[in-house]
Subunit: 695 residues, 2 copies
Amino acid sequence: MNVASPNATTVGWNDLDLAAVATAKALAADAVEKVGNGHPGTAISLAPAAYLLFQNVMRHDPADPHWLGRDRFVLSAGHSSLTQYIQLYLGGWGLELEDLESLRTWGSKTPGHPEYKHTDGIEITTGPLGTGLASAVGMAMAARRERGLLDPQAPAGESPFDHMVYVIAGDGCLQEGISSEASSLAGTQDLGNLVVIWDDNHITIEGHTSIAFTEDVLARYEAYGWHTQSVDWTHGGTEYREDVDALAAALAAAKSETGKPSIIRLRTIMAWPSPTKQDTHGAHGSKLGAEEVAGLKSALGLDPQASFAVAEEVLAHTRALGERGGAARAEWDIRYQAWREANPERAALLDRLVARELPADLAQALPTFEAGTSLATRAASGKVLAALADPLPELWGGSADLAGSNNTTMAGEPSFLPVERSSAEFAGDPYGRTLHFGIREHAMGAILNGIALHGLTRPYGGTFLTFSDFMRGAVRLSAIMGVDVTYVWTHDSIGVGEDGPTHQPIEHLAALRAMPGLAVVRPADATETAAAWLATLVKGGPTGLILSRQNLPVFPRGEQGFAEEAVARGAYVLQEASTGTPEVILVGTGSEVQLAVAARETLEAEGVPTRVVSAPCLEWFAAQEEDYRSAVLPGDVRARVAVEAGVPLSWHGIVGDAGRIVGIDHYGASADAATLFREFGITAQAVVAAARESL
Amino acid sequence: MNVASPNATTVGWNDLDLAAVATAKALAADAVEKVGNGHPGTAISLAPAAYLLFQNVMRHDPADPHWLGRDRFVLSAGHSSLTQYIQLYLGGWGLELEDLESLRTWGSKTPGHPEYKHTDGIEITTGPLGTGLASAVGMAMAARRERGLLDPQAPAGESPFDHMVYVIAGDGCLQEGISSEASSLAGTQDLGNLVVIWDDNHITIEGHTSIAFTEDVLARYEAYGWHTQSVDWTHGGTEYREDVDALAAALAAAKSETGKPSIIRLRTIMAWPSPTKQDTHGAHGSKLGAEEVAGLKSALGLDPQASFAVAEEVLAHTRALGERGGAARAEWDIRYQAWREANPERAALLDRLVARELPADLAQALPTFEAGTSLATRAASGKVLAALADPLPELWGGSADLAGSNNTTMAGEPSFLPVERSSAEFAGDPYGRTLHFGIREHAMGAILNGIALHGLTRPYGGTFLTFSDFMRGAVRLSAIMGVDVTYVWTHDSIGVGEDGPTHQPIEHLAALRAMPGLAVVRPADATETAAAWLATLVKGGPTGLILSRQNLPVFPRGEQGFAEEAVARGAYVLQEASTGTPEVILVGTGSEVQLAVAARETLEAEGVPTRVVSAPCLEWFAAQEEDYRSAVLPGDVRARVAVEAGVPLSWHGIVGDAGRIVGIDHYGASADAATLFREFGITAQAVVAAARESL
């Protein structure tokens, strides 16, 4: 080798380990070179750190990527996917050389950014910077909650459910506000099971970080209450030597600090030892070029002409991780079986959670609501959560500082919080159930994702619907990954009232419905709210419950001309036309269904047979069979009116050319809700008038 | 008074000042009590601080809220709008008692949160927490840039364009990631003209901040490079005494620190001296109740039974601010006139900027593009910016670390950056033009808003379209306020290619179009890109330019059957049917217009007269007169196909019942762009097939 090899004597690396790390660097360069694009630089410079983590530090078993006892790894710097793919290849998770050779190509197991459910060993989809770190905070929280559900009495570190969450984050991750939010909360939560390696390479896409990132990151993390360490592979700029031993020692110290999350600043030179492109943003997001790749290989003591060259003995050595992982797994299994035997009820719960099954009689646990009473759907949701608290221990959540407004607290459940953080209002318990995210919507979304990804529990989180904008990046990742996260978005229209336009959602329903894979559910009354929760839990996947601030009448069900609710079908005939053959169909969601009901009365009195359709979830409705859909919205009834206190965008495709939409296409105002509905023309009279136009 | 009055001897408060502050507290309680809802607590406890700022510290003139030389005030804790309204009333900005009495009611000047353009003296709409602080960073940056344009040689503090930006922020503001992003950047930018007062009252909506906010905020701000101070009105918990003198001294020290932004921790007790609700979240967002209000007034030495009681002599005293402001204004006018005489060219520029006029011949400055060449619209945008650099000095901007990808750098212009932050790639100049936001999209949006609000320049900022999700909260505020901010969102579809689903926008076009007041402009080629920039500048208001990563053919214009571009009309007939009477209309945007053009060729060859409509901006099209719109999309041509590489949601209303939409309603994948368009069926053939179905 022409450059100094890593200093890794204490950790016991032999020549095969050193060769494997050099090989990892070459593979990163080769893979990008072959496809012609990608991010080689960080994958090259982080290879020793990733190898250390995967081969020496983390407890995991390549043969079972879903092993409950595994440490979790989150590559928050997702563009450096090769950092992880190459370790999954070397360690034996199922990736082979041809997978690295097909990096970033159609159908490959090695897409540009790591994708959950796509590649074995990938715990989370990353790429949008900062989101991985924030979700790792959620994983670390979930680990504690799951331990609390399953093995609360075990001494620290001795439960089969104790494990670590490791993160590799880049400068970009630490610039994004989502990581600031989550890191502050991680400090409050004393997450001793979380370790972040910050790749401090001074390079982002615009070049040196001096132009935009001059803060003292470790001082900031100390301010958050983190344990901080620094490992400098430039040795003060004197020489570049990959001091793996120092990193290993820092990781060990981080692990033994069980009362605080840890961050390790790892000063690296991007793409080292690439001869001319190291330490430049030219190595960040482009192929290095054949000459540079050859130079890199020469510097590493490898054959500069050989591509994707992996010595058999090197691979055999790295794949011995399978034996070590299997042994760790076997040791763990003994403890796990002992736990099962000692805790049969908890083991049964675990089995149900692993299978992601719900209790059989869950529907019976739901509250019912008396027709003719009046209740905000957010309040109904709160009653549902209270009712689910006992039968569904895996359900937990909270709010971004709006618990009382979002009705997201299960009464009597302690807060998930170190005891010493308790307040007069909220008693803390490290295994508690109520989450306090603070005023940090974006981190809340990512943390919910992390909790869901961790595997056993089902999280929810609330804020005002208008602030779904602040968390959209995280919601999109929920939808891309298809995780079981429930967003409780209350204060769902100008019904918010006096707080005015900044707090009144107008476009949010349409904007959220635009997002593939997210179910947007806006129940019309308390009864639909309970059914919406049940359907959400049964169907799984990311769901947004859109709930009213203001009281809404509870409709009769199965009598007085009202059908039983059928929320799970997305839309259904709430009231049939008196003749059984509608001339006009009124479709509404949420608080506006009552307007459709009132308008129907007027229209029927005028002799117009009128059907009312409640459409709480257009995505669930679209997933129904054509027969059902055309039974609800028959093609020959072209006179249709949609009514929803939001932009009309969602409804053109449903009401069609002859239809009309009663909505609002401008921002709200500060006044009481009744005034706003009246002044902005979202009324039963407006629905009647629109129906007349449509007929 | 039953409680100790503020310690304000050094600042020279007399009995009338003390009475005014007590009155301000009572008014806050009265206003919320009358309407029955709102946020009294912080307005009560911050009254002395706000009074100090408005009466003693800030340079402003109630008679001219738009005075160029004024200090700016940003109430980042917007829910405490009474904090500002009451000072605007006392100081004489035009608010009167009846305005406070009509707080949060329909049509009043005193909406729930401060609204820009709605109430004189309100510089910015706030409410979503953290956004005000982040926009204040933009204001402070704009102040420096404007000085650089108008008066760069003046010694520090001696230019008529030198002034301060003051912020009041709450705990929520500092929890939100957007403030972390902006504050880190403010440190990098050495914004000595920015002073933040953090109201450290330990209370948010969920109660005590111990449950979610335990970090050391000042240490964090030190890590960002800020100047930090602490003023404790609880005096270590021993007694509550509003030490106005200490706050005044801290504000003076903050102002004299010209090399760093400043934050002052002001430890307060919310709602002090409200007898039973002080220091509780019960005083945060609800009326206090009659008894508590009376108790508060008694504690303040006021008549407990009198509501909205303001002594004449108190108001006369506080409105003397008008004379002091007028005097400051007169002193400033002398310096300003001297500057005008010494700088006639710059004065002419200033007059143009104040009038928000564009140079008359701006269109001539735009580049033209040769038909038949091929160019990404992001690259065309870069050429437009280069061409606008000289004629439009007010135009400036940058990127959230994607300058090279977004093509947002005007070649040869220095970076807006302290010289010592320069990098090999970017030379810094404190008056520079290229902005480096770092990987902080949300703060970028808020900073752009702040720059635009500051009044003289026109900012733009770029990132990938997919990350518009990260900044939606700020974009919505651009739209609510109607400010002249241009978002440059590139990499606008699966055309992104190999980076995969996290980086490929699918739903973003529809989601952004859902937002009232935002123009979403997706040009079809380089020619349309230049026209889009021009129309954006002419029309003003918040605009998103949606630009391709991949090359797109430049269409001929005014020949070969192609019309001249008419981007400013939003949509126009690019190619007429050969017969002049279309049987089918193909509507496309951006990179898909070329597919419509190719499909037309096939359809015409099959004998189907086919019109192609390029529709770069549906919002601008909707604003055209009905005659124009029906000329482009005649009502009798029902066979229509929309083609856009995004979710179909935007298009149902345009293509109608008989129409078809070629789009994509699921997430993308990691592969080259051509493969993705083919595999996902966004092709000319698909458009042809859809047209046949529609006919």
